[in-house]
C-alpha cells in the first residue's frame, strides 16, 4: 500500500475516543503503577497524528510572525505533526497537491494578510492533500502586532484549524491562571495569568496577602478566588475588564475557599468554615448576590468542589474515610449522596485531592497517589472516566510531583503545577500522548486553572465557535 493509501486509511478510521489504556511500557512502570484498578497510560488510545505544512504567509507585515505563532500552536495542540522544513521551490500561487503529497503531509495551511481601511484581515485556507481539495477557508480580523489582542487573535485562527480538521475545540486562544509568591514579598501570594503558549506572563492581583485557588468564569471575563486581604479568607470575583470585585455574603468570621463556577456562570460552589465549627460545601448566586445554599456539611472535611460540564454533578474532596486518606467523591450538583471516585481500598491508604471536571466529557482529573506519609512531593495525575463501565482509572504522570490539574478547553490537555528533576514549573500534559511541555519554568506555582476559549474582542468563545466566518465546508 502506498503511503498515501495508508494516510487515507488512517483518516477514514475513526480513532477510539473512549477511555482506553496502553499496555504499560516497562516492568518498572508496571511496578510503579501498582494501585489496584489503576493503569498507567493515556486517556485516548494511539491516535495517528497527521503531518501538516504551513506555507509562508503572504501579504507582508506581520505575516511571518503570524505563521510562526500558528505553527507553534498547532505543535502544542498535539493534533498535528508540524513539518518545519519545507521542500525547495514550494509554490506560492495555487496549490500543487501532488508536490505536497510527495512531501508527505496530510494538510497544508496557506495564509494571506490583506489590509482594508487600516484593518488587517488574515485569509487562511486549509488544504486537504489526501483528497486534493480545500477543506476550509475563513477570513479573520487581526489587530496590529502592538495591540494587546494580537496574539489572542492569531491563537483563534489556530483553534479554527484544529476544529476544521478534528471537529473538536482547540485551546490555543486560552490562558492559565495560578497563584505564586511574588518576588520581594515571600509572605504573600498573588495571581498570575499566562497565555496557553507560555507568552505574556503577568500579575493580576495586588492584594499584598494570600490570593489563592483562582477559577475562570465560563465566559472568561471573571476570575473568582480566595483572598486573605480582609484578614480572613473570603471569596472575591475579579472582573478582568475593569478590575471591579464582587464578594460572597457570609457570616462574620466565616472562611471561604476554592470557588468553582456552575456552567451557567451565575452560581459558584465553594467550601467554607464558619465560626463555631460549621463547615461544608455551599452554592451562591454571585451574579444576583443571593441564594446561599448549603449542599454538604458534617463533621468531616468536604472541600474543593468542581462542577461537571453540565452542572449536574460536583466532584469534591472528603476525608470521611480517615484524616490521612482524603479521597475524591461525586455528588449531585444540588446535593445528595456522594459516591467514591478515587481508587480507595481499605488498609491501602492513599491521598487524592484537587479534582477538576473536564469541560468536554464526564472525566475527572485529580492529583495524589498511594503515598507513605514520609514521602513528600511525589503526587501523580489521575483521570477517571465516569462513563467507563470498568471503573478504570488512568495514571498520566510518572515523574516528579504533580498537583492542581486543570483541563484545557479542548478537554484533552491538563495544566499541572509540579516539580521535575530540573526544578519547579507549570507543565502542560497531553492526556492522549503523555507529551509534557514546560509552560512556565522555574516558578513554584499552585492552584493552576485553565480558562475557557477566549476571544481577543473580549470575553470567551462559545465552545464550537471558531472565529468569524469559520465554517468547515467542502470547497472542492
Amino acid at each position: 500500500m502506498t503511503t498515501r493509501g495508508l494516510r487515507w486509511l488512517a483518516r477514514t478510521t475513526v480513532p477510539a475516543v473512549s477511555l482506553a489504556v496502553l499496555a504499560a511500557g516497562s516492568a518498572a512502570q508496571e511496578e510503579e503503577a501498582a494501585i489496584p484498578g489503576v493503569s498507567l497510560g493515556f486517556v485516548y488510545e494511539g491516535e495517528r497524528i497527521p503531518p501538516i505544512a504551513i506555507r509562508p504567509f503572504t501579504g507582508g507585515g506581520p505575516a511571518s510572525n503570524i505563521a510562526s505563532i500558528i505553527a507553534t500552536d498547532l505543535d502544542y495542540s498535539d493534533r498535528f505533526y508540524v513539518r518545519d522544513s519545507l521542500p525547495a521551490g514550494v509554490d506560492t500561487e495555487g496549490i500543487q497537491y501532488s508536490l505536497w503529497d510527495q512531501y508527505g503531509v496530510d494538510w497544508l495551511l496557506t495564509g494571506n494578510i490583506d489590509s482594508e481601511d487600516g484593518i488587517a484581515f488574515l485569509d487562511v485556507e486549509l488544504h486537504d492533500i489526501v483528497f486534493s481539495s480545500i477543506r476550509s477557508r475563513a477570513r479573520f480580523p487581526i489587530p496590529p502586532p502592538g495591540h494587546e489582542g494580537f496574539r489572542l487573535a492569531v491563537h483563534q485562527v489556530s483553534d479554527a484549524v484544529v476544529e476544521w480538521v478534528h471537529g473538536d475545540p482547540g485551546m490555543a486562544a486560552s490562558r492559565i491562571v495560578f497563584s505564586m509568591r511574588p518576588f520581594g514579598n515571600p509572605g504573600s501570594k498573588e495571581l498570575y495569568v499566562v497565555d496557553s503558549d507560555g507568552e505574556g506572563l503577568r500579575r493580576v492581583t495586588w492584594d499584598d496577602d494570600l490570593a489563592v485557588s483562582p477559577a475562570w468564569s465560563p465566559d472568561g471575563t471573571h476570575i473568582a478566588y480566595t483572598s486573605f486581604k480582609s484578614g480572613l479568607p473570603r471569596i472575591y470575583e475579579l472582573n478582568l475588564a475593569d478590575g471591579s470585585e464582587r464578594t460572597v455574603e457570609g457570616s462574620s468570621g466565616e472562611q471561604q475557599f476554592s470557588p468553582s463556577y456552575h456552567p451557567d456562570g451565575d452560581r459558584i460552589a465553594f467550601w467554607s468554615l464558619e465560626a463555631g465549627g460549621a463547615k461544608g460545601i455551599s452554592t451562591y448566586n454571585i451574579r444576583e448576590g443571593c441564594c446561599l445554599i448549603r449542599l454538604m456539611g458534617g463533621y468531616h472535611q468536604n472541600i474543593q468542589p468542581s462542577y461537571s460540564r453540565d452542572g449536574s454533578k460536583l466532584a469534591f474532596l472528603s476525608n470521611r474515610l480517615g484524616s490521612q486518606t482524603p479521597q475524591i467523591y461525586v455528588m449531585p450538583g444540588d446535593g445528595g449522596d456522594a459516591e467514591l471516585l478515587s481508587p480507595y481500598r481499605y488498609g491501602q491508604g492513599g491521598y487524592f485531592a484537587d479534582p477538576d471536571w473536564s469541560p468536554t466529557a464526564d472525566m475527572v482529573a485529580f492529583a495524589g497517589g498511594i503515598v507513605d506519609q514520609r514521602v513528600y512531593n511525589q503526587y501523580d495525575i489521575f483521570v477517571r472516566d465516569i462513563e467507563a463501565p470498568d471503573n478504570r482509572i488512568v495514571r498520566l504522570t510518572t515523574e516528579g510531583n504533580n498537583e492542581d490539574p486543570s483541563w484545557a478547553p479542548d478537554g484533552r490537555h491538563l495544566v499541572v503545577a509540579g516539580v521535575r528533576s530540573y526544578g519547579y514549573g507549570v507543565f502542560v500534559v497531553d492526556t492522549a500522548t503523555g507529551r509534557t511541555r514546560l509552560l512556565v519554568a522555574g516558578v513554584r506555582a499552585e492552584d493552576t486553572d485553565w480558562s475557557p476559549q477566549l476571544s481577543w474582542q473580549g470575553g470567551g468563545v462559545e465552545t464550537g465557535g471558531a472565529g468569524s466566518g469559520a465554517e468547515p465546508g467542502d470547497f472542492r
Binding site: P233, Q255, W271, G276, I303, Q304, S323, A353, D404
Partner: protein
C-alpha cells in the same frame, strides 16, 4: 572667744594695773526660744515629711505591685500565646499540647474578658487546599478542648493559614514538626491579664 571673756580678760589686765572693780557681768540674754508660729511650722514640717515618706513608701509598694502585675500579665500572655503542636495530618490533642492548653485554661477562667484567635497551620506535605482544611481542624480542635471545660465559644475565633505561613523553612522532619501548629492571638481583654 565670747565677748564677756574678752572683757574679763581686759579687766584682769586693768586690775593688775589700776585695781579697778570689774563691772557686773551683763545679764544672761533672755532665752527667747521658738515662737508659737515657729513651733507650729516645725510640727507641720514634720507631718509633711512623714507623709512624704509614707507616700514614697506607698508609691514604691505600688510600683512593685504594678511590676509584679506586669510580670504576671506578661507570664499570662506568654502562656496564652504559647504555640501548640500536632502530629502529621492530625488535629487530635497530644499530651504536650493538652498540658499547654490546661495552662491557658486557668488564665482564661480568671479573665473572662480575654478573647483569642486560633491560627491553624500545617506543614508543606499534602496539597495546599487540603492543608487549609487541616489547619482549621487544628484550630477547631483547640477551641473544642477549651469550650469543653465550660469556656464561652464566643470568646474564640479561628483562621487557617494552611501551609502558607511556615515558621521553619526546609523539608525536614524537624521543620515540619515546628510548622504543624496552632498560634494564639489575643484579640480583646489583654489589659485584664495579671489583675
Amino acid at each position: 572667744m565670747s565677748r564677756s571673756r574678752l572683757i574679763l580678760a581686759a579687766c584682769a589686765t586693768m586690775l593688775i594695773a589700776a585695781g579697778c572693780r570689774p563691772d557686773p557681768p551683763p545679764p544672761d540674754p533672755v532665752p527667747t526660744g521658738p515662737t508659737a508660729e515657729e513651733l507650729e511650722r516645725m510640727r507641720q514640717d514634720s507631718i509633711r515629711a512623714a507623709e512624704e515618706a509614707a507616700r514614697r513608701e506607698r508609691e514604691r509598694m505600688e510600683q512593685e505591685a504594678a511590676a509584679a502585675r506586669e510580670r504576671a500579665a506578661a507570664a499570662a500572655r506568654r502562656t496564652l500565646m504559647e504555640v501548640v503542636y500536632f502530629d502529621y495530618d492530625e488535629a487530635t490533642i497530644r499530651p504536650d499540647t493538652e498540658e499547654r492548653l490546661r495552662a491557658k485554661l486557668d488564665i482564661l477562667r480568671d479573665t473572662p474578658g480575654v478573647r483569642l484567635r486560633m491560627e491553624g497551620h500545617a506543614d508543606e506535605r499534602g496539597t495546599s487546599e487540603y492543608n487549609f482544611a487541616l489547619g482549621n481542624d487544628r484550630a477547631e480542635s483547640v477551641i473544642r478542648f477549651l469550650t469543653g471545660f465550660g469556656l464561652d465559644m464566643g470568646r474564640f475565633s479561628s483562621v487557617s493559614y494552611g501551609e502558607e505561613r511556615p515558621v521553619a523553612q526546609g523539608s525536614t522532619e524537624d521543620a515540619w514538626a515546628q510548622n504543624r501548629r496552632v498560634e494564639f492571638v489575643i484579640t480583646a481583654g489583654g489589659n485584664d491579664l495579671g489583675r
